[in-house]
Amino acid sequence: METKWFTPNKEISKMIYTSAGFVTFIVVLGIWSLLSYGGFVNPLFLPTPTAVLAAAIELFKSGEILSDIGISFSRVLTGFLVAAFIGIPLGILMGSLRIMEGAFEPLIGFIRYMPASAFIPLLILWIGLGETEKMAVIFLGTFFQLTLMVMDVTKNVQNDLIDVSYTLGAKNFQVFTKVILPASLPGIVDTLRITFGWAWTYLVVAEIVGASSGLGYMIMQASRFLQPEKIIVGILIIGLLGLITDILFKSIYRASFSWMRKDGY
């Protein structure tokens, strides 16, 4: 044991860092194995890792899960893209123009506390059970948070940075496009990464009610037919997809904002 592992904020080697994450995974897997193989819990509640693995192989072999993944992914993506498309410009305006903040912050701040899932019955009444309704749930689940987070990011742009731009001859519009936007871009990409993660969590909610396809639907069906291993496969896949998109956003961030790092890489 090295003492520096337990010194606050102290850097440790990359190897130790990665190993620590690995150990946590092994421990969780170990507890799961112990409980299931050891017969401590009913396999109807917690199937063994091998049963889950077998179910996964089966689902991928038959190919049905692939179409579920595709459908779910497109729902998440469209709902999220629409939210980002409106939320980013609105958030930037709210963060930099007091009048826009005054106009929208109270309303959005209020709606964001209304659970998106509670809107589902209303959405079904309004737009039926089709794809639009699923995307609308994702949209409602992410749009308001995303907009407020972008607003905060924009507000945090250093005031002197804006002031100095005026003394360099920038006009209002140029301050938006050449200063506020590039200054808040890293924060915006990070906001997208975080809210995209939430979009996945709203997916299941959207697909549990009135869906006939998708990962959430598959999970519901498996529950109905008492197939816990299928449920776990579904959950793991959603988790993996979320993780992959998270890594994707992180690499976009790394590639786009090398100016934030001293070594420039």
């Binding site: 250093q158 100095v164 731009s165 003394t167 001859g169 590039p182």
Partner: protein, 279 residues
Amino acid sequence: MVAPKMEVHALDSQEKIVPKIIRPKLEIKDVGKIFKTKSGETTALEKTSFTVEDGEFVTILGPSGCGKSTILRIVAGLEESNSGQVLLDGQEINGPGPDRGMVFQSYTLYPWLTVKENITFGLKLKGVSQKERDDLARHYLQLIGLEGFEKHYPIQLSGGMKQRVAIARALANDPKILLMDEPFGALDAQTRTIMQEVLLKAWEESKKTILFITHDVDESIFLADSVYVMTARPGRLKKKIPITLDRPREFSMKSSVEFGNYKEELLSLIREESLKSIK
């Protein structure tokens, strides 16, 4: 009938002389500022008047909170005054503009732009051609002693380097006056003295008018043609002290008797005000 005619004639001849009289670069006339806050009104600046000549290096020295930044921000057009007016080349200023460059105490380089792109930011806004921008960037990089750093990003620079780039960026824009609000305030003592020499070199080369705020007495003397001392809050001009040390200034002058005399005078003026502000 004869007398009035003579008067007209006299006025005429005077008018011909007027263009030859150098009028002050910057005229601050009865400028005052009151901030309204939750806890009431703060008079940041009492009605203050002063002038800065063309090509003059003026430093403003005053205790903390006496309204130095406020004055500079009003001249820059970033803050509106409650009274009076500011004239630059005889024209009343109205909002911020590229004719008044500014350097802040905080680091204000655009972190996503390289050193060169930072220096040419204002030029690009003005629509200056790529070639001219390149030439100007090269010139100012050399002036501040940062050749070879044009492709660096601000995060890769030390505090002193960042401020040098900020000065170059303001100068490259060719403003009529350069406003500097404690630009070296966050730097260590050694870097500070080097920065003072870099700035003087840039000033001598560019012949700019500079209005420079500091609360470092040595700095105010070393740089200035005139030091303006301000009173404690609510601030107003207390005294103007012309500095007649030779130009170009040398580091060794800081230990001269003359410098010492200025320092003594300024320190006692400032001490008086600082004591008042504590009470």
